[in-house]
Subunit: 259 residues, 2 copies
DNA sequence: AAGTGGTCTAGACCACCTG
DNA sequence: AGGTGGTCTAGACCACTTA
């Protein structure tokens, strides 16, 4: 029997009093979705790998193909899975060119497709300040890895940012390791540390460059910069990365689509 | 017979040579989606109204309910339709509280749910500059309506923006009409002019306030401001509104979700 | 009770990819 | 040719709303 057999058809398991405001009803495909997510989370299927076919999963879970399909559909629109007709369904990854810089919304004002270069300015450990610990769901004083870096368009600096990661999840992350790595950071994170970034929230403000920032970004002190604070989440909506970035927007802009 | 009867099952209508790179295959539900979109576009079903039930549409188009359902599903995720279990499927609108300020991404830094007040600073007609005409898909020199307004949080100005609309679509739009209207602009546009905003693209930059802007927004000249340029689209991906806004981000921030 | 959307099934067939 | 995802159907039943 599968894990599903324990769940009553109407999801009546725990709560059966209609006075409760609990979910009280969970469609089969949602339960399947949960099981699939758990397999992703546990690393049973790794980024880039194919998951079992719809038919096989249907057999495993003792439901029809259509039900599995609907579960996979939702995971695909959430960018956890990628469907490829004729080939299979794959665990999403930050490896492919298409999804590589999915989270970087900075675009050159002209149509160019600039590939920004990375320059590491520092990598150190520190005790998490109360506030940072809180947003990352850590105890204040927990160890953080801080990575400071610069992104350049040719010779011109464009982005200066600090990346904060829970030390417990990123043991062994060093400047050397990152310098020798070509490709997006998020690819390194998922491949080397098993932490895959799923979604992120950003808070954007306009700020004036202070003296130090101005120097690094090669702008006059007081120049307006875009401040971008990003909190990234992994499976199960667990926050695992905090970024504070400063973007020059004299030749680039942050593009966004509202839907 | 319905409009569908003219479409061969394999979409083989026009192009049948496999050497072409044309779509060459369009699922039934996509065709249904197109027909539904046309009905929305033509105003057959107005914002807020219910569209026919799935069964009725299935009968009209001579397809199964499941196929209609899939078409509606996609239109619902694109926010063109809203499903309400037990009641029906409705044309989306900017009227409801939930979707009212869907496009305004500005949020107070503390958790408050600030309701910004609108103050109209001007409303005039002008000939479209070449660039503006181009992004709006108009001939340069075409008439534009320009609306300048200020959004305030209590006494404090937060947003200053200019709205540019094609004059041909917004005949009779006056400052009086807008002043007497309570509720979101986009609600007025869809209710009074039949122009419904579906989605938008924004370009965001950090800029320094010039003297005039600083005065209106009550900040020192040179203060950093968020520049937000928005191009809004209606049915059929036709651009119909250009906005240039300046946001104070000393107590607010632009929030964004990356997925 | 009747009507609506929401779920689930079983089966057929199509489009795409690979060996 | 055989496997995978993608489409479509017909029918059953469930959940929610309204009258």
């Amino acid at each position: 029997m599968t894990a599903l057999s324990a769940i009553a058809p109407n999801g009546a398991g725990v709560s059966d009093s209609p006075t409760e405001l609990a979910p009280a009803f969970s469609p089969l495909y949602q339960q399947i979705k949960g099981l699939l997510t758990r397999s992703l989370q546990s690393g049973e299927w790794k980024p880039g790998e194919a998951i079992p076919s719809e038919m096989e999963l249907a057999g495993r879970f003792k439901v029809s193909q259509g039900t599995v399909r609907k579960a996979i559909d939702e995971l695909a629109t959430e960018n956890l899975l990628v469907r490829r007709q004729g080939k299979g369904t794959f665990v999403a990854t930050h490896a492919e060119a298409q999804t590589q810089y999915r989270f970087l919304r900075l675009t050159p004002d002209d149509g160019r497709s600039a590939r920004l270069q990375r320059r590491l300015l520092g990598c150190s450990r520190l005790r998490a300040p109360k506030e940072d610990a809180q947003v990352l769901g850590l105890k204040s004083g927990a160890t953080l890895v801080q990575v400071r870096r610069l992104l350049l368009d040719g010779e011109q600096p464009v982005v200066l940012d600090d990346i904060f990661l829970p030390g417990a999840l990123f043991k062994g992350l060093t400047a050397e390791r990152m310098r020798s790595y070509v490709g997006p950071m998020y690819r390194l994170f998922e491949a080397e540390f098993g932490v895959r970034m799923i979604r992120a929230e950003e808070k954007i403000r306009a700020v004036a460059a202070d003296a130090a920032q101005a120097l690094v970004l090669d702008v006059p002190p007081g120049a307006p910069l875009l401040s971008v604070e990003r909190l990234s989440y992994t499976y199960g909506d667990r926050p695992v990365e905090l970024r504070r970035g400063l973007y020059r927007t004299d030749h680039f802009h942050y593009r966004n689509e509202l839907m």
